[in-house]
Amino acid sequence: MAEQMRVVTKDIDVPGIDTLAVYEQHGGYQALRQALGMEPAAIIDEVKASGLRGRGGAGFPTGMKWSFLAKGSPKPTYLCCNADESEPGTFKDRMLMEKLPHRLVEGVLISAYATGTKQAFIYIRGELLYAAQQVSRAVAEAYAAGYAGKNIMGSGRDIDVLVHRGAGAYICGEETALLESLEGKRGYPRLKPPFPAVAGLYGGPTVINNCETLSTVPMIIANGGAWYASIGTEKSKGTRIFCLSGHVNRPGNYELPIGTTFRTVVEEFGGGVPGGKQVKAFIPGGSSTPMLPAEKLDISADYEAVAAAGSMFGAAGVIVLDEDTCIVGAVLRMTEFYRDESCGKCTPCREGTFWLVQLLERLEAGHGRPEDVALLLDICDNIAGKSFCPLGDAATSPIVSSIRLFRDEYIAHATGGGCPFKQRALAGAGSH
């Protein structure tokens, strides 16, 4: 079997790597030591040179994000680690926090130093209790060892790190909703501008980075931006942790260079589809990214190629749907998620997802009509680009992309008295 490329996940399988002692034996916190000897601007330059882009989904260049931080604000600067990993099909941050919490803490500390931040927050999805316990313990160990807190490693710099558990809302992964939540308010996205880099947490300039992004920073400092930039494609640098799920034999997290084909991810690492079935479609970046047909498995998994294929690399949550998957049923399940997780602030997302679910349920149950397909698309058109935050757009992406690929299957649901896959399964069961 092909080997993963361990950069962020280096030493992840070393027993006890989640403890400070073992992490230090494997070079832990050397990058922090090294960083503290550098000018903050030099660190930002190194990260810029690495070509690292945000791993939360939007793929914004990390070094550039840091350099956008407002200078000369009378309010303190904050760093927030977005570890509210909630996108269906993603589970990489969870693994990093559970198994390699010190790498995240080290990354947070280096990034805080680079951005002139004295107070960093790690916002962890509420459901990820073990991850929060692991990160909290790692933070406590870092404090005890002098890596965090006052005068870290004798550098004269103070950096505090606070772990905060979310209360269970997908929307809080949206960066401004995360800030609201962190401030103790209802998790609603904020109006932009002002952007967080200008006025974020408590009105101070704030940088918000994903957990994987920050966990990558120590490796960039340790090995150099140029080294990191040597991995990946021309425009998409480095590795990504592919969260592989759905109809594959070996679901899981695989760290691979960007530019690996999805077919390699699915077949070599995921071991192909169970029962030797065919891939019907796959979702490249988590449930909010448009579905792609099986033939697109051969494209390179990088930001540009996935965009050219009509989807988004997102959080690299690759979901595989086999030939026996009912697309309407799968899309209904995803749409229910967006309906339940819509924060309700804006009308199109709140009401639109409610309506979409009813239409999909009706199709699935055999009460739909062929014209419902056009209605679904028009509702999606009234949500996408009309909602307050990207969650509304995200909610439409499974529907719009799947109708583009499998319109006939939708029509068959409407004309054939419901889900043909369920009917087939029932017929099959009856014949035995």
Partner: protein
Amino acid sequence: MSQEPQGVPLVTLTIDGRSVTVPQGTVVWQAAQQAGIEIPIYCYHPKMPPLGACRMCFVEVEPMSPPVAKPPQTACTTEVREGMVVHTDTPLVQKSRKGTLEFLLINHPLDCPICDKGGECDLQDFTLRYGPGASRFNAQKRHFQKPIPVSENILLDRERCIACQRCVRFTQEIAQDPGLILLQRGFRTEVGVDPGAPFDSIFSGNVVEMCPVGALTAKSYRFISRPWELKRTPSICTNCAVGCNARIDVRVDRILRLMSRTNDAIDDGWLCDRGRWGYAAVNDPARLRVPLVRRNGTLQETTWDDALDTVARRFREIAKQHGAQAVGGIGSTHTTNEENYLFQKLLREGLGTPNIDHHHGVFPPASQGALPWAFTGTIAGIDRTQEIVLLGADPYERQPVLDLRLKKALRNGAHLTVIDADPSRIERLAGRVIRIKPGTESAVARTLTQVVLAENLARGDMAARVTDEYRARFKQFTPERMAEALGIDADAVRSLARALASADGAVILYDEATTRQSGNETLAADAFELALLTDHVTRLHSGVGPLWEDANALGARDMGVLPDVGPGYQPVQSPGLAYEAMLAGGVRALWVMGANPARHVDPAVLDALDFLVVQEMAMTETAKRADVVLPALSYAEKIGTMTNLERCVQALRRALVPLPGAKADWEILRGVATRLGLPWSYRSPADVLSEIAASVPLYAGLTRATIGDQGQRWSFADALEPATIR
């Protein structure tokens, strides 16, 4: 009278082909409003920051360069830019708005025929103008139990709610009281109250008015009228001295509700619950409708002619028998300027008595020259003040809408000091709370002045006039001595004095009632002096003065319902008896117009009078003891003017058909005046106002036209010499 920030650059943009110039920072919605172009909104409210939640106000903004088609923008969150080209009626805009309306309607019940909001509902109206003609929704609507109470006075029909958050944001951001919150998430979102913190706000009624649909309804108005059956009259609220602008909505012979009639300079668009729902006395079936005259010890119904004849005859008899000094009159803080003016004129000219007064706080004699009882600043000016001092004042309880103004100032960065014997709600927002013993506000004010003098912080015109002798008068009021004597924090007092002496703007407010407390007899002068020495009397965004209790408390004074001065504080030759003296056996015959002295003195004093006449709406404790009771009209049934606590003269308009049998106070006065042989030819209060405008310097030139819909403030420049230190 909106105060536009100075020095903000202007931006010119084009909306639907119309050129509009607005200050930088304005949002497109407001610019369109200015250009007379309607953009529908639900979540946006001009008094709150943009939210961008309802997605109704879509417009299309022409791309600058390169020309890339962009999704529609929300007009409420998009700031204007120079040269911006906005379209409000493109196919994209139409489709986007239709989409939002369709979404709002899928879960909205079609109970418009029985909904109180039907006919004045933004969802109904915008659906008509921008919505889809038919619904494509044929699935299951969300259902809720209906209605549920969110407070004693307000009910919530959750299925009608469109989650625009106006109500929630009002209670949280404007009123800052325990109020409405959002519960649940997504399509399950509902407005509600925290079980641990019930909706407890004197401003609660505003949420009913702000609700764009029929989700929040007032118990008082539920299912009692259709909006098109109402006659709407722009007038003012007479519940307290703030003088909020209100629209009085009546049907047939009853007031059904008061709605805000936004006056940014006074109420900022809000009403308090006391004012909004305080019209029961007008609708009260027990109101007086027939004049009463005491015969054989009991009050008996009679004709107006008989009642007015009796009043004229008895007053003339008593004045003849015992001299005009035996007659006195108590005017009203609830009736109009015109009526108070006529009242004092009738007593002075018709009966020849100088005994005229009304119930009021303790102030220096009006004849002294200064006018420390008139707030020297403006309500709107408080918005941008830096230091607020509540010196024995609790606007939340007494002048509620002013409390919202203070909170607005605090949001703008002002600093609040509360000096009070009792805790108050606003204290939690105060930077300094100085707890004192009752009646020591005056001493605290003097202590503040002492610090200003001792530390040479005096500024303004008065600084040069401070003499050693003057300084010596405050010698004993050192913070340390006062700390010991009054149990207050010397450092807090000292830091406040310094803050006042350096602030660009400061307002010092005390309640009229505080001046009546023993020990506070000189409070008005002490506060005024403090403001003078720190230069906060006439400075922009500064001011000092009392917060009155009643709607026309200042007007009654302005009109000379005082023993020592006539209208406009013109001194009279021989001062008469004051309120307390008249009620302590000083007169034999007393004329009471719209007042209830039985609340303040032993009613037996009233029984001992030879003759008591009372003009009143209801049978008060005082009226019960009268010899003649003259049924009066309410503020809603007559015209006239009142003067609010910041000197703004505002017009009352007749909203309601006068109660049959009752007469306006001015008509009653005219009736008696005629019988006393005075050549009064006033046809209406407008004639009286003309006379006031011609003869009272403070009110010079006022007409109903200049007062208009938003009032006209009298100015100190037209008054007497500016005040000076004693």
